[in-house]
């Protein structure tokens, strides 16, 4: 089983950090207004608590656990993917069922040279997440090549 690239873990930690930072600013603004207009501070306090907890969860726990449980294998016969945090799925896609392969990357992902590979069949769509761009392209090419070799009916 091949794993996610460590950079992908750091990137999702960074993304979570940014979102929570924005939330924290919003809460700060709210509490400043609350001070000025003498509103109650309870909603801001609750929001701050929730944000802190979810920040801890999504920065410190979720990305590493996700990366630890994620794995993929590609060979001539089939693609196998394991993923999930609480609900763990083992997915098998026979090579002959692959319709096409997509490569997706957002602006932040491009900066750190990462990409997702999306495998599309006639009835489903599965992501192989957090690969280094070069590797992702190689995987995409490989799947595209092996999926084309045998033309089976769907």
């Amino acid at each position: 089983m091949q794993r996610m690239h460590p950079k992908a873990v750091r990137l999702s930690q960074l993304t979570a950090l940014i979102t929570h930072f924005i939330l924290a600013i919003a809460i700060l603004v709210l509490s400043v207004f609350a001070q000025i207009y003498e509103w109650t501070l309870i909603p801001a306090a609750i929001a701050a608590g929730v944000t802190l907890l979810s920040g801890l969860l999504f920065v410190a726990v979720v990305p590493t656990v996700k990366a630890r449980k994620f794995g993929y294998e590609v060979d001539r016969e089939e693609i196998r993917i394991t993923k999930g945090i609480w609900w763990i799925s083992d997915i098998i896609i026979p090579m002959v069922k692959v319709q096409h392969v997509e490569l997706v990357s957002g602006p932040l992902m491009r900066r750190s040279d990462l990409a997702h590979v999306i495998v599309v069949t006639a009835a489903s769509k599965v992501e192989i997440r957090g690969l280094e761009r070069e590797n992702a392209e190689a995987v995409q090419r490989r799947i595209a090549l092996w999926a084309r070799v045998r033309e089976d009916d769907v």
């Binding site: 089939e78 763990i88 799925s89 997915i91 098998i92 069949t121």
Partner: protein, 488 residues
């Protein structure tokens, strides 16, 4: 077959097109005349000139598009020429056709003509060609394109008739034309009465409520609610209200069901199946048997006691509906015979891998907790005198979980695969290994430790595909399924 010449659509196409184009203007017109009280007789003449000119333009356009639309059919292909400014020529070869539907929307039905929709694999969900108005006889001729050549027809017929057991005379078998099923009115009524289309009716009720809000205004609504609350208050009010809602949704389901499936007819040939149904809007769908990916039997809550269910097929076509109705009220005991005759490559067998006894509580746990909490909340809020009937929810949900536990199953036999799952209705699906697009084994961290796995199989059907599942099966047997499916 007649000689290949370019044909035009039925002249009534002009009327159909005209009415279809004027339809969007109908509502504003009604609003203007009726609601705003604008008497058409006192309109300034300029309005009439504009209207007349517009009408003339639309009519000219319709005439032109009728003149410019022609098609040619022979026994190999359908060629469609169309377009007023941009001419288009489309050749659709027989082999590429997935299905040919003969439809009769209200207008066409009134005129006794038909609309033909030709679907191929491509096209992103849009039909490849639509003939809006042809005679019924012509529509049937075109539909013959979905049929394979006569020679391999006979070969196939011989083999399937030999290998499959004779079908009961109930189906009105005719060896020349294949299999015909016509649902008798009594059976159809029973099917309609036992339907339970909850999602659709809920949406309908929601729409009705908002409509009532807009039209009737708050005052009537309030006084209605007020009266209802005054008369319907007591320990059984919850039950009565649920009962009323269920009854209403049931009546609605029956209506919708009759609207959609009345006059259901099935014609099975060796290589293709034709189904047609609809009360006012007739739909007829023909598809090659080879495009069938899976069969599913849905045994609804009210139908199970009768040993009946609805049988659907997952077919590759671009329709919104993923599963085509094959029989709306089939006897479960006859499914094997019916499928054996119509779709011999699908083998319905009883799946034998079932959840272990220890998994029973997992099916009940959450439902029990939620119903107990809800009941406790009601009692806490409104007192035991008023809300004790909610306690009945608890055994009911336990019963539901137990029924689910008893229903879940998976199994494989040769190249065939079966999955059975229950939400409220029991859905059993049969498919060939080669038609499963992806297989997923799913388990939570706790379930994994206990050795239970759920299985999901994605199969093609309609535009998006379909996912069948079975929950909490023993891990070692799920591992066998995985090995069975894997190409390694």
């Amino acid at each position: 077959m007649s000689e290949p010449v370019y044909r035009r659509q039925h002249l009534l196409y002009l009327v159909v097109l005209l009415i279809n184009r004027l339809k969007p203007m109908l509502v504003p017109a009604i609003v203007l005349v009726v609601v705003k009280g604008k008497n058409p007789l006192v309109w300034p003449p300029a309005v009439y000139y504009t209207l007349g000119a517009g009408l003339a333009l639309v009519m000219a356009g319709s005439l032109l598009s009728w003149r410019r639309f022609s098609y040619l059919r022979d026994d190999q292909q359908l060629i469609v020429r169309s377009g007023i400014l941009f001419r288009q020529l489309k050749t659709i070869h027989r082999n590429r056709i997935h299905s040919i539907q003969i439809q009769q929307p209200l207008l066409q039905r009134l005129f006794g003509i038909a609309q033909v929709v030709v679907e191929t694999a491509g096209g992103g969900g849009k039909p490849e060609a639509v003939l809006h108005a042809v005679t019924l006889a012509e529509a049937r001729e075109i539909q013959l394109l979905a049929r394979k050549e006569r020679s391999d027809n006979e070969v196939l017929k011989a083999t399937t008739l030999d290998s499959s057991p004779p079908v009961a005379p109930l189906y009105g078998e005719n060896p020349e034309r294949g299999l015909r099923i016509h649902i008798s009115p009594a059976t159809f009524m029973l099917a309609a009465v036992t339907t339970s289309n909850l999602q659709l009716t809920l949406a309908f009720i929601a729409g009705l409520v908002s409509f009532a809000d807009d039209i009737l205004g708050e005052s009537i609504y309030d006084s209605l609610a007020h009266t209802a609350v005054r008369y319907l208050n007591g320990p059984f009010s919850v039950l009565i209200w649920t009962g009323v809602a269920l009854l209403l949704s049931w009546v609605l389901s029956i209506g919708l069901y009759v609207w959609k499936y009345a006059g259901f007819k099935l014609e099975g040939h060796v290589d293709r199946i034709t189904v047609s149904y609809g009360l006012l809007e007739k739909r007829q769908l023909t598809f090659p048997v080879s495009k069938v990916q899976a069969a599913m039997l849905v045994e609804g809550l009210l139908r199970r006691p009768f040993g009946r269910g609805e049988l659907r097929l997952l077919v590759i076509h671009s329709d919104k509906e993923a599963a085509v109705m094959l029989h709306p009220f089939v006897k479960v005991s006859e499914v094997e015979k019916l499928l054996g005759h119509l779709v011999p490559h699908i083998h319905p067998f009883a799946p034998n891998i079932t959840p272990p006894k220890k998994a029973w509580f997992s099916f009940v746990r959450w439902k029990l907790m939620i119903s107990a909490l809800a009941s406790a909340g009601m009692i806490f809020g409104f007192g035991i005198v008023l809300s004790w009937p909610t306690l009945l929810l608890i055994p009911l949900t336990v019963l539901w979980g137990h029924a689910q536990f008893c229903s879940e199953a998976a199994g494989m036999e040769g190249n065939h695969f079966a999955l059975r799952h229950r939400r409220l209705a029991v859905t059993t699906a049969w498919m060939r290994k080669k038609h499963i697009q992806t297989l997923t084994l799913k388990a939570s961290v706790v379930q994994r430790r206990k050795g239970w796995h759920s299985v999901e199989a994605a199969v093609m059907g309609g535009m998006k595909g379909y996912m069948f599942s079975a929950r909490l099966l023993p891990a070692d047997q799920v591992e066998q399924i995985k090995r069975w499916y894997s190409q390694r």
